[in-house]
C-alpha cells in the first residue's frame, strides 16, 4: 500500500522554484531516502507532505488523505525529526515527552508507560527530571527522536538524523530505523547528505537536485545505472608490478592507477571482462594474489547525478 504519493508537485518561494514537477511514491514499510544538496527540495517535500506548505500545483496524498484538507488526520500518523533539536530548553525531558504525547492525543492511561519506556530506550531515564537546556547535543537528538516516536507514528521523517551524534548514538538510531521498518512495518523517510547511511538503511532512494527528481530506485540500481563499469584492485608480485601495468594498459579501454607497490587499481572494466583480466595476468606469468572488484556505490551515483544536473543547468558551453 502507498504511504506517500506525490503527483507532479510544484512549489515556489516567490520567484524561486523549490520543487519542479516532483512525482514519486513511498510504499508502506520501506525506508526511503531523499538525497540532495542543500536547497534540493528535501525539507520542502517533508513540509508539503505534512501539510505545512501548500503546493502551487500537483497532488499529494498521505495514506490516501490530503495533508491540506485532512492535515490533522495525516499528522496524527506522521512524525518529523527536524535537523536541529527543536526542544524547549526550559522543559524537562519527561515534561517534553508528556506534552507532546498529549498533543498527539495519546490515551491518558498510555502516556506514563510510553514516556518511561522511551526515556529508558534512549538512555535518558536518569535525566528525565532535568531540563533539556543542560543536555548535550547527542542527548537532545535522542530526546527529539523519542519525542517523534511518542505516538508510535506510522510514517517517520528523519531530517539529517545523525548530524552531531557520536558513533554509538548513530548506531542506535540506525537500529531504531531498521526495527521500525523491518520489525514493525512502519515507513521511514530519511532526508540526508550522508550517502553511506542512506545506502546502508534505504530500500529505495530519490536523488533531488534543484527541486527536480534526478533518479529513483534502490541504491544498487542507481549505482549500477550511473556506473555500469567496475573498478578492480589487483594484487600481484611486487617485483612484477611494471609488467602488470604494461599488460593492463595494453588492454582496450582500461585505465590503471597504482595503489601501492604490488597493487594496481584497474578502472573502466565491464563485469563480464573481469575473468578475462584474471586469466591474462596469470597467462602472462605474473603471480596473482588477489583480485577484488569494487561495486559502484551510491556515493558514485549521487555525484554523477548531481554533476550531470549541474551541466544541464549551466547549458551547453
Amino acid at each position: 500500500m502507498t504511504a506517500i504519493s506525490l503527483d507532479h508537485v510544484v512549489h515556489r518561494y516567490g520567484d524561486t522554484v523549490a520543487l519542479r514537477d516532483l512525482s514519486l511514491t513511498v510504499v508502506e514499510g520501506e525506508v526511503f531516502s531523499l538525497l540532495g544538496h542543500n536547497g534540493a527540495g528535501k525539507t520542502t517535500t517533508v513540509r508539503i507532505v505534512n501539510g505545512l506548505l501548500a503546493p502551487a500545483s500537483g497532488s499529494v496524498r498521505v495514506f490516501g488523505q490530503s495533508p491540506l484538507t485532512d492535515g490533522a488526520a495525516v499528522r496524527r500518523r506522521t512524525a518529523v525529526l527536524t535537523e536541529s533539536p527543536t526542544l524547549d530548553e526550559r522543559l524537562t525531558a519527561r515534561e517534553t515527552l508528556r506534552a507532546f504525547a498529549e498533543m498527539y492525543d495519546v490515551r491518558s492511561a498510555d502516556i506514563g508507560p510510553r514516556v518511561e519506556s522511551l526515556l529508558e530506550e534512549f538512555g535518558i531515564a536518569d535525566r528525565g527530571k532535568d531540563r533539556v537546556g543542560g543536555f548535550s547535543r547527542g542527548m537532545k537528538q535522542r530526546l527529539s527522536l523519542a519525542r517523534a516516536l511518542v505516538h508510535d507514528p506510522d510514517l517517520l521523517f528523519l531530517d539529517e538524523p545523525t548530524a552531531g551524534l557520536d558513533p554509538s548514538a548513530t548506531q542506535q538510531l540506525h537500529q531504531t530505523v531498521r526495527e521500525m521498518a523491518r520489525g514493525r512495518g512502519r515507513t521511514v523517510v530519511l532526508c540526508t547528505h550522508n550517502l553511506i547511511e542512506a545506502q546502508a538503511l534505504s530500500d529505495r532512494v530519490a536523488v533531488l537536485g534543484g527541486g527536480e527528481l534526478l533518479a529513483l530506485g534502490t541504491p544498487a540500481e542507481l549505482a549500477k545505472r550511473m556506473s555500469p563499469r567496475l573498478e578492480v584492485s589487483v594484487e600481484i608480485d611486487p617485483t612484477r608490478h611494471a609488467d602488470a601495468v604494461t599488460l593492463v594498459t595494453s588492454l582496450d579501454g582500461l585505465t590503471v592507477a597504482a595503489e601501492r607497490a604490488g597493487v594496481i587499481r584497474v578502472g573502466g572494466i565491464a563485469r563480464d571482462r573481469v575473468p578475462d583480466l584474471a586469466s591474462r595476468i596469470v597467462g602472462a606469468g605474473i603471480p596473482l594474489f588477489r583480485l577484488e572488484p569494487h561495486e559502484p556505490s551510491l556515493t558514485d551515483a549521487y555525484f554523477a547525478l548531481q554533476h550531470g544536473n549541474q551541466q544541464k543547468t549551466r547549458g551547453p558551453a
Binding site: 506548505l53 488526520a73 524547549d88 530548553e89 526550559r90 522543559l91 515534561e95 498529549e102 498527539y104
Partner: protein
C-alpha cells in the same frame, strides 16, 4: 476543536513562561508594584508626610471641577477615595495588558526564535486549535493575575485605610466593572496586538518593542483619569470596555486570518 490538545499546548506554554526568569521578573514586579506597594504607600502618604497636608489639599483643589465635585471637601478620607478610585484604578489595567503582551510575545515570536514552533506545527493540532491555545495561554494568566491582584489590592486598601474610613469602602461599582469587564478586554487587546506584531517579525525583541506600542491606549486612559479629563463611572467603564473588546476582537480577526501553518512556516 480538540480541547485536550489545546490544554496540552496551554500547559506547556505556561510551564515554559514560569521557568523563564526574564519573563517572570516583569510579571511579578509590575503587579506587586501596582497592586501592593502603590495602594499601601498612597494610603499612608498624607500621614507619613504629616506636614504636607496642605500640599495635598492644594493638589486636590487643582483637580478638574467634575472630579473635585464628585468627591466633596478635602479630608484624609477624600484623599484615600481620590487616590484609589480615580488615580490608581486605571493603572490596574496595565497589569492584564502587560501580562498578556509578554506571554503572547514569548508564545509566538519567542517560540519561533527558539525554533520550538516547528515541532508544534507538525502536531495534529489544527490551525484553529493552535491559535486558541496560544491565545488562552496568554489571556488566562493575565486575567487571573488581574483578578487575584484586584482582590489583594482591595484587601490592602480597606485594611490600611480602616483607621480613617472605619468601613469597607472599596471596591466601588466602577472599580468592579473595571476589573471584571475592562481588565479581560485589555488582556485581549494586549495579546491581539502582540499576535499581529509577532506574525510579522522574527525575533522576540522586535516583537516586544513593537507590541508595546499597543499600551498607548492604556496610558491615555490613565493620564485622562489622573488629570480628570475622563471621569469613569460604571456606565462609562462598561462603554470603554466594550470599545476595547471590539478593537481587540477586530485585531484578533485580522490575526486569525493570518495565523496559518502555511504562513507561519515561511517565517521559520
Amino acid at each position: 476543536m480538540n480541547r485536550r490538545i489545546i490544554a496540552a499546548i496551554v500547559r506547556k506554554d505556561l510551564r515554559v513562561v514560569r521557568r523563564s526568569r526574564a519573563l517572570m521578573t516583569p510579571l511579578i514586579v509590575l503587579p506587586v508594584l501596582l497592586m501592593i506597594v502603590f495602594p499601601t504607600v498612597f494610603t499612608f502618604l498624607p500621614r507619613m508626610m504629616g506636614g504636607a497636608r496642605e500640599a495635598f489639599a492644594e493638589m486636590f483643589r487643582n483637580l478638574p471641577d467634575p472630579v473635585r465635585r464628585s468627591f466633596g471637601e478635602f479630608t484624609e478620607a477624600t484623599w484615600i477615595r481620590v487616590v484609589h478610585t480615580q488615580m490608581l484604578a486605571p493603572l490596574m489595567l496595565l497589569v492584564p495588558f502587560m501580562v498578556a503582551n509578554v506571554i503572547a510575545a514569548d508564545g509566538f515570536a519567542g517560540e519561533r526564535e527558539r525554533k520550538t514552533l516547528e515541532p508544534l506545527l507538525y502536531t495534529p493540532a489544527t490551525d484553529a486549535e493552535l491559535f486558541v491555545a496560544k491565545l488562552l495561554a496568554a489571556w488566562i494568566p493575565a486575567v487571573m493575575i488581574a483578578f487575584g491582584g484586584a482582590f489583594i489590592y482591595a484587601v490592602i486598601v480597606n485594611v490600611t485605610a480602616w483607621p480613617v474610613m472605619q468601613r469597607v469602602f472599596f471596591p466601588d461599582a466602577t472599580w468592579v466593572v473595571m476589573i471584571l469587564w475592562m481588565a479581560p478586554a485589555f488582556a485581549a487587546l494586549g495579546l491581539a496586538g502582540m499576535l499581529l506584531v509577532s506574525l510579522r517579525v522574527r525575533g522576540m525583541q522586535e516583537a516586544t518593542q513593537l507590541g508595546g506600542l499597543f499600551v498607548l491606549p492604556v496610558i491615555a486612559l490613565v493620564v485622562g483619569e489622573v488629570r480628570g479629563a475622563i471621569l469613569l463611572g460604571p456606565w462609562k467603564a462598561i462603554a470603554t470596555g466594550l470599545l476595547v473588546w471590539i478593537i481587540a476582537g477586530v485585531l484578533l480577526l485580522f490575526g486569525i486570518r493570518r495565523f496559518r501553518r502555511t504562513t507561519l512556516v515561511g517565517k521559520l
